[in-house]
């Protein structure tokens, strides 16, 4: 063992001994409190928007979006990414920022109040709650795209032709 190695070993051992000499609570398991769930969910929406945008870009750059079948799949990606944006806004307004506060008056009536932004923001929230108006067309276009692709007589051959 060289002199330099000896010095390194002695320094490391010294540092470990020093840590043992001054103990603190370990905190080995981090607690996952209340806001973490919504943060993770919002991250998932951003990730989803990103992946749909990338998919649209790839379909476009490979000129697949000009063909029947793939074109509908591109529309599906567009609607689903818009839905994700809408859902993200709704979650942000009521659960993250707390700018919208809702209270059920009865089964079919709700009280929607905004802490800032006024009635405009209340209406934005109300419309954002109708997010199925975007995700249902998204899945419909996915279904249409796959129907067209699977019903093509020579889908496999058409696919081969597309390979540059």
């Amino acid at each position: 063992m060289t002199l330099r190695a000896n010095i390194g070993f002695i320094s490391l051992a010294g540092a470990l001994l020093l840590l043992l000499a001054i103990p603190h609570p370990a905190m080995a398991i981090q607690p996952h409190g209340d806001p973490e769930g919504i943060v993770v969910h919002q991250f998932s929406h951003i990730f989803f928007i990103f992946s749909m945008a990338i998919l649209m870009y790839w379909l476009r750059s490979r000129q697949l979006s000009l063909q029947p079948g793939w074109r509908e799949i591109k529309y599906a990606a567009l609607f689903l990414s818009l839905w994700s944006v809408m859902a993200f806004i709704a979650h942000m307004l009521d659960e993250q920022l707390g700018w919208i506060v809702t209270r059920r008056i009865d089964t079919w009536t709700m009280q929607v109040d905004s802490t800032r932004g006024g009635a405009g923001l209340e209406w934005v929230y109300y419309i954002a709650k109708l997010d199925h108006l975007l995700c249902v067309p998204g899945l419909f276009f996915l279904y249409r795209g796959l129907t067209v692709l699977s019903s093509q007589k020579d889908a496999v051959r058409d696919m081969d032709r597309e390979v540059p």
Binding site: S44, F48, M52, I54, W108, V112, H132, T147, S150
Partner: protein, 383 residues
């Protein structure tokens, strides 16, 4: 503001049901697509995307429907217990869908590589099958070509030897013939034209001239006389020869066709000698077709190789295979005695060789023969 929640609840429940329906149908079609071509990674990818989206749609929609049912039933505390589980499941599935979607580019790239390699393999396999199937034919063709080439080489060697021999003999005979011709002409001057001696001397002179012509032909065959080249258009030469032949050889009933290549340019050649070659070939063709046959003369210019091909084809009786190797030999003839010296093709061979060209023949006995002259195209300025 106080708003009715009916549209939100209706859209939520109906939308949730529709999402389940469309996602299940999507899986069904993606499944069909994948079964159509299970080796296609892109279809497998779409099946995975459809599966994940269906999982997410069902989880989310079930959660939404359950939420509305619970809330409408007034069991709000129950929903507070279910909500974290449903929400977490949705979050997890949304991340899974996003992750799978990001594999599109990789799937496409792999598919493209597989496709390219498969195509190359298929092409190679097809080529191998084709090679296997045609191997025997190819070997046969190559062998025939080799044999033909060997025959040509042998013929060229033989003709070169004959040419050397002919040249020597012609030179040796040429001088005595000149002397015979000169002395005969001298003797003729001292004889009266009506005398028997004058007539005898005329016969000697005539035959001496014939011998001289044969000697000259032999020298042409042996390529001893250099061609006198000038820039001429081969088409004009052919037309002149045709006029001459048609006037001389009673070819009224023989159908003559010409197919000239417009790209032919004027080229350097000995016009007189090339005419002699064409006359020889056309006279032979005329003899072969009889009185009402068909002769086709065509030209073709190979611009890249700078070679001109002149073809004289007839539908006459053709040449027997056993004679094909000998037709350029001096004094070889199949015509009856007195109708030909057997020097025409030998002389033609010598002339074309002297121009740096080739003369080729192919024949189908009973159907006709094709003579092809291949001449290098050189303009006068290139010489």
């Amino acid at each position: 503001m106080t708003v009715t929640w009916v549209p939100v609840i209706s859209v939520d429940v109906m939308g949730a049901v529709l999402m389940i329906v469309f996602s299940v149908l999507s899986v069904r079609h993606a499944w069909r697509l994948n079964r159509k071509d299970p080796d296609n990674l892109v279809w497998t990818y779409l099946l995975w995307v459809a599966f994940c989206l269906a999982g997410f749609a069902i989880s989310r929609s079930a959660g939404h429907i359950l939420k509305q049912v619970i809330l409408v039933s007034g069991l709000d505390p129950v929903w507070e217990n279910v909500r974290p589980v449903s929400g977490s499941l949705n979050t997890m599935l949304l991340i899974v869908v996003s992750s799978v979607t990001l594999f599109f580019n990789r799937a496409w790239h792999i598919y493209r590589e597989i496709f390219t390699e498969r195509k190359a393999l298929q092409e190679t396999q097809a080529e191998l099958i084709s090679l296997n199937q045609t191997l025997e034919n190819r070997v046969e063709e190559r062998s025939e070509a080799l044999l033909k080439h060997e025959k040509q080489m042998a013929q060229t060697d033989r003709l070169a030897s004959i040419g050397q021999l002919s040249s020597g003999i012609a030179h040796e005979i040429n001088n005595p013939l000149g002397v015979i011709q000169g002395y005969t002409q001298l003797l003729l001057r001292g004889e009266k034209p009506e005398s028997q001696k004058h007539q005898d001397l005329q016969v000697i002179l005539k035959h001496a001239r014939s011998c001289k012509a044969i000697v000259e032909d032999l020298l042409n065959f042996a390529r001893r006389s250099a061609p006198e080249k000038a820039e001429v258009n081969i088409h004009d030469v052919i037309k002149d020869v045709l006029v001459f032949i048609q006037r001389r050889a009673k070819m009224e009933k023989v159908q003559i066709e010409t197919h000239f290549d417009d790209r032919v340019i004027p080229m350097s050649m000995d016009e007189k000698k090339i005419k002699q070659v064409l006359v020889n070939l056309l006279m032979n063709a005329r003899h072969a077709v009889g009185e009402d046959g068909r002769i086709v003369i065509s030209t073709r210019y190979d611009v890249e190789a700078r070679r001109l091909r002149v073809t004289v084809a007839d539908n006459g009786y053709g040449i027997d295979e056993k004679n094909l190797d000998r037709i350029f030999d001096p004094f070889f003839t199949t015509k009856p005695t007195g109708e030909g010296t057997g020097l025409g093709l030998a002389v033609s061979y010598g002339i074309i060789k002297n121009h740096g060209g080739e003369i080729q023949v192919s024949s189908d006995p009973g159907k006709g023969s094709v003579f092809t002259l291949i001449l290098p195209v050189t303009a006068a300025k290139d010489l």
